[in-house]
Subunit: 260 residues, 2 copies
């Protein structure tokens, strides 16, 4: 693959593994917009957040190359994949980082645990326009056809004006037919948390172990300006996400507490 | 250990392993404030961000118990440790989550990769007053004595009024003697990123592998209201951190871009 000056160069990754239908969907749509380099683990890495691999060495394998794309497997997290691609594998800084399409929504606080959104955050730390796409379904046989159209709309809206540094997009798509999606809503992140329900089991040796399970607890189900509301009401939610986690509204109050 | 109604119950974890001097320091100071439960991996888990363990079962072992504390080892990430403790190991929701003292600073965007701050974020998602403490030194033999005093000051400032839900504190302590620390500054997160410099090596089989290394690139070294500036100028930095990553200031502009 030769990247010409006029080509858009697009870096694609996700955390469901290289053969996940969601990643394949994103990769195929991205080929309509430019030259594509995919870097991903072969196996899934869900829930890895923005984890870095610091205790084991990273390895990369070029699996496929043609005129339009290159596909690499790597043994790191989605964040490692972005770092490796930008620093070692790409001919220049890419124009876009696209992560997804994730199998499972990343709305509300799920963003904190998400490998998909970590990859997008990592992209925008390099000043690259970055988007994470997720479908609200965990099924391997989920219908990704509606996703294609909305990925195109998001990419077209981004156009040639880059996103501001340190800001990326979190796009969640409801799993309904294309005609049942009511449109796109620009939202804020919904307030909520995960209620864990650990499954406690005994292994054949009689020792206890736990599986993490849980369900999402929406603190504001009626707030129409949130991503959770949009998704539940068959809208595609788009949240601009910042790497700056400062609670600005609380700075003065905190100063008061420390000055007592 | 019996937790009475009037006792403060404090959950302690970190990502440098159960025997790290930083964790021991925090644990000892926390015993001055209440009954303490420690949950941590035996080995270090640096750079795990807010990763969850979903593919392997979690195991927990009670290693030590007396009147004032219980110490558990677990095989999960710092975030898993908080979830397990809150849902399976503690008699009630703790009054505080304290993570650290981390070996190495977690100022600026390092918060995104930090297991220490992930534990604090996890705590505040449960509505618990949560603080991550970090010392600006990676040395195993770093001097944690100044930390003790500043941990006490932070805990005393928190007092009995809990932090607002979804907000925790990121406390970074310079590695200088107690008398050289100029005080505490309430700050915002500094803008910056990590510049990677992967070390590319060959294994004995002639195959390439990479080690992730890098250095921090401060985008605003002169901004006196940031955590990086505070730390470099021998202040303890305290940043209030929110789980809400919405880029509010960019919402309207993004709506414009999508309405074109």
């Amino acid at each position: 693959m030769i990247v010409e000056k006029e080509d858009k160069l697009i870096l694609v990754t996700n955390d469901d593994g290289l053969y996940a239908p969601g990643l394949r969907t994103l990769f195929e749509v991205m080929e309509e917009f430019g030259k594509v380099v995919v870097v991903s683990t072969l196996e899934s890495q869900s829930g890895m957040s923005q984890a870095l691999t610091v205790k084991t060495p990273l390895r990369v394998k070029l699996l496929e190359e043609n005129d339009k794309h290159r596909i690499y497997s790597c043994n790191g997290t989605p964040t490692d994949s972005i770092k490796l691609a930008v620093n070692q594998l790409l001919e220049r800084l890419p124009d876009f980082v696209a992560a997804g399409v994730n199998h499972g929504a990343n709305a509300s606080v799920s963003i904190l645990y998400s490998g998909t959104m970590a990859a997008a955050l990592e992209g925008c730390l390099y000043g690259i326009s970055s988007v994470g796409f997720s479908l609200n379904s965990f099924s391997r046989t989920a219908d990704f056809s509606a996703c294609r159209e909305f990925i195109r709309i998001v990419m077209t809206s981004l156009g040639t004006e880059p996103l501001p540094p340190g800001i990326c997009l979190n796009v969640n798509i409801p799993e309904v037919g294309k005609n049942d999606i009511k449109g796109i809503r620009i939202c804020r992140q919904s307030k909520g948390n995960w209620k864990e329900e650990f499954e406690k089991r005994k292994d054949p040796m009689g020792k206890t172990y736990y599986w993490l399970t849980g369900s999402y607890n929406n603190h504001e189900p009626d707030a129409e300006d949130t991503d959770e509301w949009a998704l539940r009401n068959n809208y595609v939610s788009v949240v601009p996400v910042t790497v700056d986690m400062t609670a600005y509204a609380y700075l003065d109050k905190l100063r008061d507490r420390f000055s007592k």
